[in-house]
Amino acid sequence: MNDREMSELTPAQEDPAIHRMLSTLTAWTPGPGFDSRVLARVWRPHPLWLRRAEAYWGELVETGQVWLIAGAFALGSLIPVIALTALVSAHMAEIWTFLDWLVAEGIPVAWMATLAFLSGVVSTVNTVASALLPNARALTLAVVAYLVLLAGCAGGLYRTMSAPSATR
């Protein structure tokens, strides 16, 4: 048998007797907690994206470009503030007029509208209740419909909360 043929044989084919004996040997394992002891001494690299970001940041600091970017960012942040200030200054008279109207008429009108709406709701509830109370069957149906609606809401809430969260 030449070297190439010998290399293609499996250990069991090469020498069955020796292989049979050696394959009975115990595969030893280290004691419990071995993984943790090793990992406690291993430095794990940061994720690739973080390492790239760190390298990019280092490059920016080294070349001084970081000041250019910081300046551009500061100026960029000022633009909306300046624009808003200019807008307010240009329309100061209209803004005061609007504020005067709001205090004099807008707030009282909004308050009266809210009151009108609430009294409408109370009136409607009162009308419905007056119509249903003498009719025992209609009242039962309304209560059942309300309970079904309540159970449906509770069921939907339970399903939403118990659904498995998305995992990677």
Binding site: T24, T26, L39, R41
Partner: protein, 200 residues
């Protein structure tokens, strides 16, 4: 970022790639795959459980801390076995411990030390009779392996216990392919001679 859907079916290269991205699960997977073979190899070489565990730990710490320098054109198993074997051989050279005694290391002077350095045979899952026979057979085989020269021992363990191909053993042990074949051939001959009474 690289996310492996199932680490247990991923190749070593894929797991290493994931580990270089800092994923702890990938480190644990490499430990899971290699702690038994690496520990078994080192334990059979130095035959002191405590020392074998220290050397195995050193091997893994060295490998995992240098994971970003791993070159994927080489087999990961070759790399880790090379470091494990070097750790064991370095220790043997330092201590000049070439032979295995199943009754404990020659420098074990107290009964506790003798017990600590004796190989523990059998995994306890067999019946008492089977266990006794397995222990007896295992003892004889371990004894025979322990009598081999360290370089023969490493070669025969990697070939017949770990089932590694010749070229990987040569790469792992930094030996020419022909030398590995010769060592394994001689190791088998010595084992047959030592274990001949078992066949009768």
């Amino acid at each position: 970022m690289h996310y492996s859907p199932d680490l247990s079916t991923a190749t070593d290269q894929q797991v290493v790639e994931w580990a270089t991205d800092g994923a702890e699960a990938a480190y644990r997977e490499l430990l899971r795959r290699y702690q038994r073979p690496v520990f078994s190899l080192i334990y059979r070489m130095v035959r002191d459980r405590e020392l074998a565990e220290d050397l195995t730990q050193e091997t893994f710490v060295k490998v995992l801390n240098a994971i970003d320098r791993y070159r994927p054109e080489y087999k990961f198993s070759s790399w880790i076995f090379k470091i494990a074997n070097n750790a064991a051989i370095d220790h043997l050279r330092r201590k000049e411990l070439d032979t295995l005694s199943l009754e404990g290391r020659p420098d074990a002077t107290t009964p506790d030390r003798v017990e600590a350095t004796a190989l523990q045979l059998g995994d306890g899952s067999e019946s008492p009779l089977d266990e006794l026979e397995a222990r007896e057979l295992g003892t004889q085989i371990e004894h025979a392996i322990g009598r081999l020269r360290p370089e023969y021992r490493a070669c025969i363990i990697m070939r017949h216990v770990e089932g590694r191909p010749y070229d990987e053993i040569a790469e792992t042990l930094d030996l020419p392919l022909g030398t590995v074949k010769t060592y394994i051939h001689r190791a088998r001959a010595e084992l047959k001679e030592t274990l001949a009474p078992l066949k009768e």
